[in-house]
Each structure stands twice: as structure tokens, then as C-alpha cells.
């Protein structure tokens, strides 16, 4: 299953609903292009909803790290929402869980972004 990414605006935050697999190849490229496109439009508050991401490989993890760094370099913030157990475990194993700001509830996540960015 390839990755699908749908964007919506919620109180100044771009919520990206991801659905599918973030793996080497198409999945990673779709995520990369999505974040690049949002930054190009000046949307620097990005919440990646991973509730329906069924699988991430090492390339996908790398892409999340790259996205995080790209957004931060533009003085924005990228946060993660609703990790599945598999993704949660992967971020724990790779010690990235504490690097990302991970949220369970969308409303709380949206409120946590700075209003000015």
C-alpha cells in the first residue's frame, strides 16, 4: 500500500493525515515532497498524523528526521500525532521518541504550536 497524504488547516496548523507505509521509495518521497511543499507555502506549523501509518522502515524513520530538521531550520515546528504501537516502538528503539514532540490528541497538539509561526 502506497502512502497517501491529505492536508487540512486547523487553527493555523497544517495537519497532514498520512495513510499507508513510509518506506524506501515512494512512501518516503511522498512525505518529503509534502513537507517541502508546505514549507514552500510558508506553512511552518506541521502536525503529522500517523494514526493510519501501518509501517515505517529505516528509510521512513530517516525521512521523519529530515522533515523535522527541515521544518526547524525554517523556524517552524513539526510534531507527530497518534503513533501506532509499531511506530512508537521504532522511535523508542532508535532513541528518537524524545526528539520528536509526540501527541495523542489532535486538539491538544494543535494548541501546543506557537501562534506566531
Amino acid at each position: 500500500m502506497t502512502l497517501k497524504a491529505n492536508n487540512r488547516q486547523v487553527d493555523g496548523v497544517t495537519v497532514v493525515d498520512l495513510n499507508g507505509r513510509i518506506t524506501l521509495g515512494e512512501g518516503s518521497i511522498i512525505l518529503r515532497d509534502t513537507v517541502r511543499d508546505l514549507l514552500g507555502k510558508g506553512r511552518k506549523n506541521i502536525l503529522l498524523n500517523l494514526a493510519n501509518v501501518t509501517y515505517i522502515d529505516s528509510s521512513g524513520i530517516g525521512e521523519l528526521v529530515s522533515a523535522f530538521t527541515s521544518v526547524r531550520n525554517q523556524q517552524g515546528e513539526l510534531k507527530l500525532l497518534k503513533l501506532t504501537k509499531k511506530v512508537h516502538d521504532l522511535l523508542q528503539i532508535t532513541k528518537l521518541y524524545t526528539v520528536f514532540d509526540v501527541k495523542d490528541e489532535e486538539a491538544d497538539a494543535v494548541k501546543s504550536f506557537p501562534k506566531s509561526a
Binding site: D57, S59, G62, V65, S66, T69, K86, T94
Partner: protein
């Protein structure tokens, strides 16, 4: 007689991402047939995927003239998977630690680490040319019971 003894199947695959996906799927199915639970199936298939990615991307460098090989050997006490490529070879002593502070935010370099995290034993051998990665998952009580039932 244990039906799992002396069973070995080898797949020859093209150096493509499609082969990587197929290898992952096959590993999941083989592990399931062997009685591993879903978590173990996921770990085994992910380890195979990462090893296959290394073979295709870093080993064979997508060279259409080079193949990679995945062998599944079923032993009574373990599942042994060998992934071999025809690339330039990998120095197992020179694999950076992705958990090191300087590497934590790098966008690559986690494949071997994940393989080691998910399997019980991992051996990397430089064949010069080529790399052979051997992955071992021990059969747990749950898997053994499933097969005996």
C-alpha cells in the same frame, strides 16, 4: 520426525525495490508458517527488508546485472535467514552507531541497527566481493507449541 528439520529454500532476486517488498512479504509468510507470532513475524520481515535494502541499495547499487539471494533455513530450534549480495562488500567493523549523539539526527544509517534489534543473532561477512548477512531467530515456546499442535 520434526517436519521443520533440514528445510532450506533460496530465492534469487533482482536488485529492485519491488524485490525488497517481495522479500519482506515472503519473510512474513514464512515466519508465520513456521509458527512465529505476529510480533515476531513483523520483526523478522522488517529485518529481512532492511537487509534486502542494504543488498539492493548499498551492495548491488541497483545494478540490473547483479542479483541478491535470500535463503530460509528451518531448523528445529531456529529460523536462519541469509541475505547475500554481489556488491563491493561491507566492512562490519565500520558501521556507525546510530544512537551516538552525532548520528542521532542523521537521515540514514539505522538499517543494521534495526536488524540487530529485531533478531536474536546477526552475522555480517564480507565476501569480497559481496556481503552475506545471516539472521537468526530462535523458535520460542509459542512457536514450538503451534507446530506441535
Amino acid at each position: 520426525m520434526d517436519s521443520r528439520a533440514k528445510t532450506r529454500v533460496t530465492y534469487t532476486l533482482d536488485s529492485t525495490l519491488e524485490s525488497v517488498n517481495r522479500a519482506e512479504q515472503t519473510a512474513f509468510e514464512v515466519a508465520g508458517r513456521w509458527g512465529f507470532d505476529e510480533d515476531s513475524q513483523h520483526h523478522i520481515s522488517m529485518a529481512v527488508r532492511e537487509a534486502a535494502v542494504n543488498a539492493v541499495l548499498h551492495g548491488n547499487a541497483y545494478d540490473p546485472n547483479k542479483k541478491f539471494f535470500i535463503a530460509y533455513e528451518m531448523r528445529p530450534e531456529s529460523m536462519v535467514i541469509t541475505v547475500t549480495d554481489q556488491g563491493k562488500g561491507l566492512d562490519p567493523q565500520n558501521i556507525p552507531d546510530p544512537l551516538a549523539p552525532d548520528n542521532l539526527m542523521k537521515s540514514s544509517g539505522r538499517g543494521i541497527f534495526l536488524i540487530r534489534s529485531f533478531m536474536d543473532e546477526v552475522t555480517i561477512k564480507n565476501l569480497d566481493p559481496g556481503t552475506e548477512v545471516t539472521l537468526v531467530k530462535h523458535v520460542g515456546r509459542e512457536a514450538a507449541n503451534s507446530k506441535e499442535g
